[in-house]
């Protein structure tokens, strides 16, 4: 890994090393870990999502809240220490453009409707296919259709 780090330091092109086999393998294994955590913690469960939207348990709020807190502390530390990534780039998180805000209000609400109806957000949809709910393949295909329709309508939508 050390060799990679040094060679990348001399390389100005951003993101060039992301597709090296070693990195891809790492992202794959990180995904495996994420799928296991999502499934074993039951975040993928329709029942847990219903329980959350009915405010009948603290569990999901605890999970999401402590995930945000952990991520926020990590991000603050990374910024404070001005860390470089293993791939050699200075770590920078691009800020999201607020625009009129309409896309976040309307898009967010549309996603929320879908989240409660399917009982799953995008990550869990894929984890559920793996964990033995094959009909979620249809939900994923529908989600792809939804994304495609957005891409097609995009020039005509307020952002």
């Amino acid at each position: 890994m050390r060799d990679t780090v040094q060679s990348v330091h001399q390389d100005a092109e951003i993101g060039r090393h992301a597709n090296e086999p070693l990195f891809l393998l790492f992202y794959l294994s990180l995904g495996v870990a994420f799928g296991i955590v999502l499934t074993r913690s039951e975040v993928v469960s329709w029942f847990r999502i219903q329980e959350m939207f009915h405010f009948q348990s603290f569990r999901m709020y605890g999970i999401i809240g402590s995930a945000i807190a952990t991520a926020a502390i990590s991000v603050a530390l990374i910024k404070k220490l001005q860390l470089r990534s293993v791939s050699g780039e200075i770590i920078a998180i691009p800020r999201k453009d607020l625009g009129s805000g309409i896309r976040y209000v309307v898009g967010g609400t549309i996603f929320g409707l879908g989240w409660a109806l399917t009982g799953a957000c995008p990550g869990p949809l894929f984890a559920l296919i793996g964990s033995g709910v094959p009909v979620m393949i249809v939900a994923v295909l529908s989600a792809l259709a939804g994304t495609w329709v957005y891409g097609w309508l995009r020039p005509r939508l307020p952002h």
């Binding site: 009915h54 860390l83 896309r103 109806l117």
Partner: protein, 188 residues
């Protein structure tokens, strides 16, 4: 140890573990944790058409994330073999209100009476799986993120757009839970 892995993970273990994926991806390759961009990458890879939104080098910007996504699927498979199947331990109150809505089978991660192939031909199944999935894709693309990209990555970076999006997620989720699902599920 194995007992612990097999059982139900407490929220204070699951939450921080999920949060750690943000620094792990940043430190590895300056990558921002977010699942829903993969839906765009998949469209760009499979059916870009003449839509400008899908005309970009998805391999350069998205291949890493598609590998992550493939991992999530494999992770679900592995997790389902880690422990014996057990009912999701939702609160008695939740169970009661779901029984009132007509849910009887609590033996899996999702109600099997709803998420089966045959149910696609019923209104309940069609709306839960096909309409729900469509709204997930449309909404996350329009909002530019989902629970991972906005609620976790975005809020962790104190971004106002993400806060607005997350409030939207809950507004939509509550609307579907209280205004649509009760009518949809009655009499499964």
């Amino acid at each position: 140890m194995m007992e612990w892995i097999r059982g139900e993970w407490p929220w204070y273990v699951a939450g921080p573990l999920i949060g750690l994926f943000v620094p792990a991806l940043l430190i590895a390759g300056n990558k921002l944790f977010g699942i829903s961009s993969n839906l765009r990458h998949l469209c760009a890879a499979l059916v870009p058409g003449r839509v400008a939104f899908f005309r970009y080098d998805w391999k350069r910007t998205g291949l890493w994330n598609l590998f992550f996504l493939a991992g999530v699927l494999v992770g679900g498979l592995i997790a389902s073999h880690l422990g014996a199947a057990h009912d999701v331990a939702i609160s008695a109150q939740s169970k009661e209100s779901l029984v009132r809505l007509g849910i009887h089978d609590f033996s899996g991660l999702v109600p099997r009476e709803l998420f089966r192939w045959q149910m696609l031909l019923t209104l309940r199944g069609f709306v839960s799986i096909i309409v729900g999935g469509f709204l997930v894709g449309l909404g996350t693309a329009y909002a530019g993120g989902c629970t991972s990209g906005h609620a976790i990555s975005g809020l962790a970076n104190f971004e106002l757009p993400s806060l607005i999006a997350v409030l939207g997620f809950f507004a939509g989720g509550l609307a579907a839970t209280y205004l649509i699902l009760p009518f949809l599920l009655r009499g499964i």
